[in-house]
Symmetry: C2
Subunit: 404 residues, 2 copies
């Protein structure tokens, strides 16, 4: 059966990238590789909207998270992190593992992170060296107002701002330098549209200074080595060459579409999924929904895992399930990366059919019907999604750097 | 120009693997991935000749080296390592970074590591928790007698034996369980014939016990997580999916050829390169040459970098240069992974032509001519290589496990 992937990583990979992955391997110390790597280094700065070097690590996103911690801090430091989902939690685990005292800001899964809460915590803990944030929390489909929260932290303290942009970069607006972000990371298998295996990390000048005095042990993730070797368009260790060749193609596609238009597209697609699902009686779980992934709350009587299985087996649609206490209670549909209007129509159409197939003539169907007005209409989702997709652009963006 | 890669990583990638890399991406929590991963887990045990789990890391080989250190030891421990080249040195750097006292066994680059030296050092440092070895030192083209040295360590102490098999596994005989090796690692871009980006690590039961009391900080490379998740055919973090799909194909090719026949092939190819080069007046640098890569000492008057450049520009042959103090003094030709008899003929033929082109009618030519007998014959190398390639098998191997 034809498969369509709507998971928040890996995301679908463009055919242009897939075919680049199968090119004959080249050697990473030769001129042909350096030329490709040089191009990716510039385009990553554009993507991050920064003047600083963006380091490419051969590791998944979690590796880049660890790199942020071990290059910034020393044992005995304290640091604030926002614990509002699976990935926010992870910052806490890493900090603890490295004997940094973690100060959590607990946010109920799917709730809004208020800038005021962050301000209070930062003021209460003036010794905290850094604030670790998750821009788009994939486990709950929640985005934070990163611009505003960065501004708040920068106005109230000297703490460094570290942002997990793994499922936001290339989808949601992020402007590292303009927003005063000190450390920004992402992964390859999200907005970047290539397979997993690479992650990326950039440090502001202020963060580079902190790195010079950081005393946590590190070797593979030691960024000083990467900053040194990148001058020669090299990596300290043998990189995942074929993924970098694919990255080069993906970054050219991003350049061609334009970052602002990519942000506009993700905004449009996210709205279409949410409105389409709502028309089918499925509410968005998050109170501050992310434009990269939508978690849909299952109405009573529909098990998320059964719905996912139906989507997969009957319609070839792969979506993610809920994690931890949300297992079975939500399904998560990503609209992230190489996804367009008609992909959204496909997933919303399949969702309508799968819901109908799952509930049959049972009680939940009745309750859904009630919510949809006159009997359950599996096409109601597509109708609503189409309406959203043809709306005028909600918001236009300005870039600080064009690198052209 | 047609390019031929003879570097000790990346090595040439079979077309079957290249085309697998460009398959549509699948999700790492789905059944189709688990099926592939299950197969690679079994085949990796065959490759390592072990009953233990072989963990797949999304990282280059250096990441697996770090994983060995941080999962075995605690700060304040001491450990012995053999410093006989660039990669042996690296063990020392990692140990030091993690506050483990490194006890070096210094071996001149390219010299033989005597089992007796290892025995003496182990007896002199009874508190050393582990001995870190490099089976095939790519920087010098040197192999150690791993079976004998493991036996010596196991007979004289309780120290754990940790082996960097990055450029040996899939080329030189290694039998983890039968030889009493406690930790064995390798990388993807060597004997495994896939692109860089994955590395592999296995722990003996004795090493698993040590891991339980190890107190070095770790997160991404925490193997306890990997041993837990592998039971469900999962990885703790999103793995480099496409590389694992390629790995599956490569491991099937290894199975088809058979590990013993792969070892025999590498032995034959290595001898052909060495004898072919000798016939051209180029000596093998190492006194204990490795079957995966040959470092050739440049005769006076031939600069290694100039010869490499000639090989690349005129003949499309990519070989490696010397590192550190060997830069310009040696070139390194790998015969590792997806390489056969006729590839060896190609590289030796090109070497003959390139040497002649490099020296012209100058003095070194005269000295080379003298060594070759009657005037310099660029075909002498191929003649000698052909002779080696048709010799009967030197040594046959027995496997402990067949996993069939």
């Amino acid at each position: 059966m034809k498969q369509r992937l709507f998971t928040p990583g890996p995301t679908p990979i463009p055919e242009e990238v897939l075919s680049a992955l199968s090119r004959p391997i080249i050697h990473h110390r030769q001129a042909d590789f350096k030329e490709i790597f040089r191009r990716t280094c510039t385009e990553l700065k554009y993507l991050f909207q920064t003047k600083e070097d963006v380091v490419t690590l051969t590791a998944s996103g979690t590796g880049a998270m660890e790199a942020a911690v071990v290059n910034l801090l020393s044992s005995g430091d304290s640091a604030i992190y926002v614990d509002g989902g699976k990935f926010g939690e992870r910052w806490g685990h890493i900090l603890k593992q490295y004997s940094v005292t973690p100060i959590p800001i607990k946010v109920e899964w799917g709730s809004v992170l208020e800038a005021e809460t962050v301000r209070e915590t930062v003021l209460k803990h003036p010794k905290a060296k850094a604030v670790f944030l998750t821009h788009s929390e994939s486990s709950t489909g929640t985005a934070i107002d990163l611009k505003r929260i960065s501004e708040t932290v920068n106005n109230s303290s000297k703490a460094l701002i570290v942002v997990d942009g793994i499922s936001s970069i290339g989808a949601l607006e992020v402007q590292m330098d303009a927003w005063g972000i000190d450390v920004l990371i992402t992964g390859s298998q999200k907005g970047l549209m290539i397979p997993p295996g690479l992650s990326f990390i950039a440090f502001s000048q202020r963060a580079r200074e902190a790195a010079r005095t950081s005393r946590l042990p590190k070797f593979y993730f030691d960024l000083e080595r990467a900053w040194e070797t990148v001058k020669e368009m090299q990596t300290p260790w043998t990189p995942a060459i074929s993924l970098i060749v694919g990255l080069d193609v993906a970054l050219q596609m991003i350049r061609q579409e334009g970052l602002q238009d990519i942000w506009i597209r993700h905004d449009r697609l996210a709205h279409a999924v949410r409105e389409g699902s709502a028309a089918l009686g499925l509410e968005t779980f998050s109170k501050s929904p992310s434009n990269s992934v939508t978690a849909l709350l299952m109405p009573q009587g529909i098990d998320g895992e059964a719905l996912r299985s139906q989507l997969r087996k009957k319609h070839g649609i792969i979506v993610a399930g809920g994690q931890d206490h949300l297992k079975g209670k939500v399904i998560r549909i990503a609209h992230l990366g190489h996804v367009d209007n008609l992909d959204i129509i496909a997933v919303v159409a399949a969702l309508g059919m799968a819901v109908e197939e799952c509930v049959g003539g049972s009680d939940p169907a009745a309750s859904l019907s009630a919510r949809s007005g006159t009997g359950f209409d599996p096409g109601a989702g597509v109708k609503a999604a189409l309406r959203e997709l043809s709306k005028p652009v909600r918001h236009r963006f300005e870039l600080e750097y064009s690198y052209q």
